[in-house]
């Protein structure tokens, strides 16, 4: 393989910052007054959701807000869309089951998001969740 021009191995510009720990990933962002979200997830593989009582979480220190699937629906927050729509052989659109950001009515796997707590620190959000 040639050592210059086409086929040459070229050093990447971005490697230097990655190698020095100066990359800037989403979790590295730290703005003044930033809040933290912590997601409470299902510990059941398949279960109906009863009424979710968020009052204790809301009263927990540092908590700013608590949202459930019902809140998302009431606010018109849609589900996670499928990024690649394909058609069936007969041309009809593919079946796209709803995928709410927070579970509504039922959880379908361990780890299914049930509620989200927003607080001033990560620890406060975690404690309340």
């Amino acid at each position: 393989m040639g050592h210059d021009g086409i086929g040459a191995s070229v050093r990447r510009k971005e490697d230097l910052r990655f190698l020095n720990g100066r990359g800037h990933y989403t979790d590295d962002v730290n703005r003044p007054g930033q809040l933290y979200a912590y997601i409470r997830r299902s510990d059941r593989p398949h279960a109906r959701l009863g009424a979710i009582d968020t009052s204790a979480a809301k009263a927990s220190p540092g908590v700013v807000a608590v949202f459930t699937g019902a809140d998302m629906q009431a606010d018109g927050v849609g589900g996670l869309p499928c990024g690649w729509q394909i058609h069936n052989k007969d041309g009809s659109p593919m079946a796209e089951p709803p995928h709410p950001v927070l579970a509504v009515g039922k959880v379908r796997h361990v780890g299914d998001p049930v509620a989200v707590v927003i607080a001033h620190t990560r620890q406060q959000a975690k404690d309340a969740a």
């Binding site: 050093r11 971005e14 990655f18 020095n20 720990g21 800037h24 990933y25 990560r122």
Partner: protein
Amino acid sequence: MPQVSLTVNGTQHTVEVENRTLLVELLREKIGLTGTHVGCDTSQCGACVVHVDGTSVKSCTMLAVQADGAKVTTIEGLAAADGTLHPMQEMFREHHALQCGFCTPGMVMSAIDLVQSHPEGLTEHQIREGLEGNLCRCTGYHNIVKAIAAAWPLMQGKTMPVAAE
């Protein structure tokens, strides 16, 4: 709240922490060194590896209070003040041992400890085994292994003995 005094990359810090604060939280949130990453929080991925008194440690699995009095080195502390890279960083760069860079700080810190603790030489097999605690989702490991083998003679100051598999 307990106080922790430790040296990070040569600078002395005294920080108030909770009992449950992890070393990685202290480094990222209290000292602002975000080069050390959290990929899993459960001791699997190795993105959080730092050196504590010269030995590689998964900082998501050590309490901040356990590091009281320790000397900690993170990825930010490897290059010289004039910007000269550590040989391991240089070889990672040279051999294209990174893509997105998320695993890289932990990889480099683990790799340095691996080379330092094997002055007798390292086989490819040993390097691969030594990296068991570090996951990379981008590179396929091949170039990481090459970079570590290339850094060994630079760090040990001698040619790599032909080690038997």
